[in-house]
């Protein structure tokens, strides 16, 4: 199973990559939505974990585009909140088609369990 992680925070990318690799997944990483989308087109993943507030192409835009081109892919949105209030972004991600949402800081164990649960359905 392949997971694509998109986040502009380098340390967060390292953390998620390490965790998902230990759990036995193949992992690709991208530092913004535009690169993430490009990577997905070249090498489709089964699940995408994406941050929401990023330069170049924000997560909401990325989710909207991905949902259009790949309706079956599982998406988890993660966010540390933002300029118009933390509560505004994650529900918007759900509305655009994210399967699950996680507010940062999150429990990495719960995130991993959620990844497994979503991939078990596929």
């Amino acid at each position: 199973m392949r997971i694509l992680v998109i986040d502009d925070n380098e340390q967060m990318l390292i953390l998620l990559r390490q965790t998902m690799e230990w759990a036995g997944f193949d992992v690709d990483v991208a530092e913004n939505g535009r690169l993430g989308q490009q990577l997905f087109e070249e090498q489709p993943a089964d699940l995408i974990i994406t941050d929401l507030i990023m330069p170049e192409q924000e997560g909401l835009e990325t989710i909207r585009k991905l949902r259009k081109s790949a309706p079956e892919v599982k998406i988890i949105a993660i966010s540390g909140g933002g300029r118009i209030g933390p509560e505004a972004y994650l529900p918007a991600a759900m509305e655009l088609g994210a399967d699950r949402i996680f507010a940062k800081p999150f429990d990495i164990k719960v995130l991993l369990a959620t990844v497994r649960e979503l991939l078990a359905d596929t």
Binding site: N9, Q11, M12, I14, L15, L16, Q18, T19, W22, A23, G24, I53, P55, E56, S79, G80, G81, G82, R83, I84, G85, P86, A103, K104, P105, F106, D107, I108, K109, L112, A113, R116
Partner: protein, 520 residues
């Protein structure tokens, strides 16, 4: 008072009463001789009579401290002022004009426009903007801190899970843990902690709570070093041009903050240009601001001499509405045009701490220019070098002062000579080595810059130590240079000074090095 009346023409009275503004005609003693209908409407109905009263009795009870009539009397022309009149519970825009008869001042025309509603709306807008800015700031800080916490807690969690050597909730056996893995997790936590520390410092700078270390400095070396650093960091699609005047004077400033201000301005310019090809121009120059030239500036500046640091870009530019909000922390236009984070808010904080003014010009599609006006201070020499030098530690040895910036060599050589030293100037490492090898002088110490063409300060120090192991070397290094005090000492450097060099620090350091060298 008949000469003040217009002859009682009915037409004149109609016009007078048709005016929306309250208009009073006053005599020289500020007594009302005529009032239009709007004046009666503006003033409380409890006033049974207006005519004959002094204007301030009607508007303020007591004589006004900022009486616009005084200005009219002294200058002979009209004068306008916004005044709060708590007696009436109103804000008024009062305009006073002189009334002449045969070139002799015989009275005044006093008009008042009620701007209370306008003023209240403006206050409400300012308040709403403040609240908006605070909520944007809180959101921005929360976002950054949540990311930092995510990294700290995530790494701590992983470390615990790996230390336990258990399958646990992760549902998979963790790879074996080695010392280097523990170090990696700790390093990630440490980096996140440092990012949090940086963030706190930025917030404090923005809110002007940090203690700064300000002194008289010439900013050109700081700017040159920062430009050197920026040249290696800005994307290749962006051309960085610098025009730095060589002979600008001193400002009273914290060098670290000047460095930060330029970095923030350039980061902003890089973001404004984005993926496009573009140019960033950095200039430093002296400018004399006079009343005549001040109208081209977006901000009011007192007349005087300034050192102006400006950064001009060919980026997307900003509208007037955006320009009004660029210093709000974490302000974003949401369309990728402006996303200032704390950068411009910090810049504004720095400018305020330096009594500097930021002048911004921009239009959508036409780039932007930020110019920081730092008030110039009297130079070291103008303040009386002898007095300043009198308190510094002196010596009589022979020193080589090496730097590829001719202006700096000249200035420091001159100051060191005031302290009693014989100074041999050098523009490169090769020149220093030539001085030592030709043995025309007995050299007692070398003071050198780190960044020089062909040979760095550290390389020079190594070469010197080979020729004359006990010759003391002081290394001066800027912000963007990868030299730490520790690495300098490893190379046998006797002392390390961060640029820009403070003359007092240099004087003390020279004596300390000689003292330590003589006791070794």
């Amino acid at each position: 008072m008949d000469e003040l009346r217009s002859g009682g023409s009915e037409t004149w009275q109609h016009i007078f009463d048709a005016l929306v503004e309250s208009v009073l005609i006053l005599n020289k003693d500020k007594e009302v001789v005529e009032a239009n209908r709007a004046a009666y409407a503006l003033l409380p109905s409890t006033y049974t009579e207006i005519i004959g009263h002094k204007c301030y009795e009607l508007f303020a009870c007591l004589e006004c401290q900022d009486c616009p009539l005084e200005h009219v009397r002294n200058k002979g022309d009209s004068y306008s002022l916004d005044m709060e009149r708590s007696l009436l519970g109103k804000y008024l825009r009062v305009t006073c004009a002189p009334l002449f008869k045969n070139d002799v001042l015989v009275g005044y025309i006093h008009s008042a426009l009620d701007i209370t509603q306008q003023r209240n709306l403006k206050n409400q807008l300012v308040q709403a903007r403040k609240m908006d800015a605070i909520s944007t700031l809180a959101g921005g800080i929360a976002h950054d801190f949540n990311n930092i916490l995510g990294v700290i807690l995530g790494n701590a969690d992983l470390l615990q899970y790996r230390l336990s050597g258990d399958v646990g909730q992760m549902g998979v056996m963790a790879p074996e843990l080695e010392k280097v893995d523990i170090q990696e997790h700790l390093l990630a936590i440490q980096k996140a902690g440092q990012r949090a520390e940086d963030l706190v410092n930025q917030i404090l700078t923005f809110s002007r709570q940090t203690s700064t270390s300000r002194r008289d400095v010439i900013i050109t070396p700081i700017i040159k070093e920062t430009v050197k650093f920026l040249k290696s960091t800005v994307p290749a699609t962006i051309e960085l041009r610098a025009e730095i005047a060589e002979d600008v004077g001193y400002i009273y400033a914290d060098p670290t903050q000047i460095h930060q201000a330029l970095m923030n301005l350039c980061t902003n310019a890089v973001e404004a240009i984005g993926d496009q090809h573009g140019v960033i121009e950095i200039t430093v120059k002296e400018k004399k601001v006079t009343s005549a030239g001040a109208e081209t500036l977006s901000q009011h500046l007192q007349n005087g001499e300034y050192i102006v640091l400006s950064v001009k870009d060919t980026g997307v530019g900003m509208s007037e509405e955006v320009l009004e909000r660029i210093y709000d922390p974490f302000f974003t236009t949401g369309d990728g045009g402006v996303d200032s984070g704390l950068g411009l808010a910090v810049l504004h904080g720095i400018a305020t701490q330096h009594n500097a003014t930021i002048d911004v010009h921009s239009e959508p599609g036409k780039g932007a220019e930020f110019a920081i006006y730092f008030p110039k201070v009297n130079t070291f020499k103008e303040k009386g070098t002898n007095n300043a030098v009198a308190t510094m530690l002196k010596g009589s040895e022979t020193l080589i002062f090496a730097d590829d910036e001719e202006e700096l060599v000249k200035m420091f050589s001159e100051m060191l000579e005031y302290l009693g030293y014989t100074v041999l100037p050098a523009a490169s490492g090769q020149e220093v080595l030539a001085h030592i090898k030709n043995k025309l002088h007995k050299i007692d110490m070398v003071i050198t810059d780190q960044t020089m063409p062909h040979m760095t300060g550290l390389e020079l120090a190594r070469a010197i130590k080979k020729l004359q192991a006990n010759l003391p070397v002081i290394l001066c290094s800027g912000y963007a240079e990868p030299v730490t005090e520790e690495s300098a000492r490893k190379e046998g450097i006797n002392a390390f000074l961060a640029k820009p060099i403070d003359m007092k620090d240099l004087a003390v350091t020279i004596r300390q090095v000689f003292l330590l060298n003589s006791t070794q």
